[in-house]
Amino acid sequence: MKIVCGQLQPPRRRERSEPVILFVVAEQMFAIAASAIHEIRSTDSISAAASEIVGKDMPQVRYRLRRGRTLYYVVNASKHFGLPASRPTLVLVLRNFRAAVLVDQIDRMETMSRLTALPQSFSGPERAWYRGLTLIGESVVPVLSASGFLTERQFAQLDALDDSIVDPVQSEAASAQNEAQGVALR
């Protein structure tokens, strides 16, 4: 058996501190780099800019959101992570990715001083979901990767749905009607 003290090797980590936003989905806390977030809005304030996506096989993405000239796909975080259903009240609009994320609430901002790599035993899609893990107090908090919400292939599938709409005039009218009425983002 090994003698621990002499053998203990620190995990691979980055020591540079980084501001992160801690948020909660279905009572689970996550962290995401503040620099990865373009804006945070309440679901109520943004529902007028959202429209429902129909005819696709991606239950975690039910809405698209227009912000200026950009169309964002809205990912329900509780469905994405397989958590119990929750009542999202906020939308995190990501920077550099055409995705927005429905979350329950923001907990606080924090400075993350240490990011450790996800242990290699984790072998599922979580390897794409997380940049790594951090310790906030005594709690292990997964740090999300902004690119982990939708794959390139999923973006392409969603874009294809938009492109496949037969009558662009009718579609625009329907979208405008949706946007005028607003939808409840869930």
Partner: protein, 159 residues
């Protein structure tokens, strides 16, 4: 075909697993600790039940029974922390242990037969302890055996 037996004396940590015992080479065992607070976050690796923090290091808790496709073990009284090689680096797993662990040494490691070597490459040999013939496990190989199916399911879920 048989794999040649190692001649030198080696130490092993024997741990109970359901109604039997299995062993790990002692050099792969870091320590045996009292169970700490199990923390969880979303993931899809079925044999990991959560993580513990030990000296500032986050260690996944791996259900050995599940990796061996056996009935899940009872709640662990201890965690046996085992090191395994993941690619070019070393990683640790905390394995819940329901009973007492033993340290044993053996001069002779019984070789695995060809069928075992092909069907269960994570068994690197056998240890004869009294009447019992115990499997010597290679955790890296055991985890690797489960990776391809996960990769496939991840690809499916992404499609």
């Amino acid at each position: 075909m048989t794999i040649p037996a190692a001649a030198q004396r080696k130490s092993f940590v024997i741990l109970p697993l359901g109604g039997r015992s299995v062993s790990f080479p002692a050099e792969s065992v870091i320590e045996l600790v009292a169970p700490g607070k199990l923390q969880t976050f979303p993931h899809r690796t079925p044999w990991i039940s959560g993580v513990i923090v030990r000296r500032g290091r986050t260690i996944p808790v791996c259900d050995l029974s599940r990796l061996l496709s056996e009935t899940s073990a009872a709640v662990g009284r201890f965690y046996l922390i085992v090191e395994w090689r993941a690619g070019g680096t070393f990683d640790w797993c905390a394995i819940p242990v329901a009973g007492e662990c033993e340290l044993a040494s053996a001069e002779e490691i019984l070789p695995v037969d060809a069928l075992t070597a092909s069907e269960a490459p994570h068994i690197t040999g056998f240890l004869q302890v009294a009447e019992e013939r115990l499997e010597i496990l290679d955790l890296a190989k055991l985890i690797d055996e489960h990776r391809p199916s996960l990769d496939a399911s991840a690809a499916e879920s992404a499609s």
